[in-house]
């Protein structure tokens, strides 16, 4: 705040009506030694008090107020006198009772000190115990937090797996439908070099306009590559059918495009292409096959 802003606060400060932040800021400003604002504030306080001075009323109150104060003064004086009197007991002739009295006070003081010490010791042991419990609870909390994180990770993995299974089920259902088609066409593909357990079956139906490839045993391609299925037709040569990944020699079912209508399929091949696929085969051929006789 600049100086003018502090000056603007002074009228309300004179009425003791600043908010806590403003009051604090002004207090710091005055502590900083601003004589001008100090004088102004004093003047505004007087202005506020003037409202009180201008009030009427309170007649005869001064006598009653003074009577009240006198009573308090007397009560205060009496209490002080009583305390002074009890602290300065006159000694008896044989001194015995006085000494006994002093001894009684000493005993009380000693008991009080012992009680205070006992309380302090108890308090410290309680504090230590609570601290240990707190440490234990913190440890438990941390352990639970770890466990929770683990469960979250498991849940996430389970969700991913569930999504994958759902997807696979959908593809499987699609394949089943094609297999039931009246114009089902199957093409079996096998590896170029004999490889046990590696191959694919492509099923398509012009009636349903759908095609699926079911692969098995294909190795996982490098990160920047994927597999691509081609229809080799008499009329157009290689026609792009679709791309897919293989996951660690697992069986997979992937939807692909059926061959163009009216074109005779001579062969189907699967090649390894750059990620994103290509318009014509460029990579090595992994699988090849000819359609089953109709």
């Amino acid at each position: 705040m600049d100086h003018q802003e502090f000056v603007n606060l002074l009228p309300l400060a004179g009425l003791d009506r600043l908010g806590p932040d403003e009051a604090r800021a002004l207090h710091e400003h005055l502590r900083g030694g601003c004589a001008e604002c100090q004088a102004e504030l004093r003047a505004y306080r007087e202005a506020g008090a003037a409202l009180a001075v201008a009030l009427e009323g309170g007649h005869e109150a001064e006598h009653r107020v003074w009577e009240n104060l006198e009573k308090r003064l007397h009560a205060n004086a009496a209490a002080a006198h009583s305390l002074a009197h009890s602290a300065s007991q006159p000694a008896h002739a044989d001194g015995r009772e006085h000494r006994g009295g002093a001894g009684w006070w000493r005993g009380v003081a000693l008991v009080a000190i012992l009680m205070v010490l006992a309380l302090v010791v108890y308090d410290r042991s309680m504090v230590e115990r609570m601290r240990m419990e707190q440490v234990h609870h913190l440890g438990q909390l941390e352990s639970l937090s770890w466990e929770l994180n683990g469960l979250r990770a498991n849940l996430k993995a389970a969700r991913i797996e569930a999504d994958t299974l759902h997807s696979e089920l959908s593809e499987h259902a699609r394949l089943d439908r094609i297999l039931m088609a009246p114009d089902l066409q199957l093409t079996r593909l096998s590896a170029l070099t004999p490889a046990r357990g590696v191959g694919a079956i492509v099923a398509f139906s012009h009636a349903y306009n759908q095609a699926m490839i079911h692969t098995f045993g294909l190795p996982e391609p490098p990160d920047d590559k994927l597999y691509e299925l081609w229809w080799i037709t008499r009329q157009s040569g290689p026609v792009k059918a679709g791309t897919f990944y293989a996951r660690g020699h697992r069986t997979m079912e992937v939807q692909v495009s059926p061959p163009p209508a009216g074109q005779r399929v001579m062969m189907a091949t699967v090649t390894l292409e750059p990620a994103g696929g290509t318009s014509k085969p460029t990579g090595p051929t992994y699988l090849r096959g000819t359609p089953d006789l109709e």
Binding site: P11, R42, A43, E46, A50, A52, V53, G57
Partner: protein
């Protein structure tokens, strides 16, 4: 008072009791409660006279400040809603007092206060003699809270100037 002279306390209370009782009455609305507040104020002053700082204001201003705070505490304790500005019952005679100088001072201050417009004085008294927040005052007056603050500041500046002119 700092020396523990009870006569000083008596002189102080006789001089300012009326004014402080009128202030407390504005908050509490009852005479006995107001006088009790005033007694508490003087007892506090008697117990802690060192707390007075002349650089911050006059004795009157300090006493009024203590009386307001004590009255507000009592008000909150009682959980009374003090909103209406109720004028203290006016007496048949003016508040002249025994001291002529004091009477002149009171008249001078009243004249300065009288320079305020009615609305300005009403807003100031509502702010000074109640525990209402600015928002509550604004609601009662039907104006925005920021306007209330501006009116109060304007009224205080005017009152301060009027008092300064009277002192010249």
């Amino acid at each position: 008072m700092r020396a523990g002279d009870a006569h000083a306390l008596q002189a102080l209370s006789l001089r300012y009791s009326r004014m402080l009782t009128a202030v407390a009455w504005r908050f509490l609305g009852d005479e006995a409660g107001a006088e009790e507040v005033v007694s508490d104020v003087f007892w506090k002053v008697w117990s802690d006279a060192k707390a007075f700082d002349a650089a911050q204001g006059s004795v009157a201003a300090w006493l009024v400040y203590l009386a307001r705070n004590r009255a507000i505490d009592c008000l909150r304790t009682r959980s009374m809603h003090q909103g209406e500005i109720e004028k203290a019952p006016t007496q048949a005679s003016a508040d002249a007092g025994d001291d002529l100088d004091e009477a002149e001072h009171v008249q001078s201050v009243r004249a300065a206060v009288a320079t305020l417009e009615t609305e300005q004085r009403a807003v100031l008294e509502m702010v000074y003699f109640s525990d209402l927040s600015f928002a509550q005052i604004a609601e009662r007056l039907g104006i925005p809270a920021e306007t209330v603050k501006a009116k109060i500041s304007g009224a205080m500046i005017k009152l301060r100037q009027a008092l300064a002119n009277r002192q010249k």
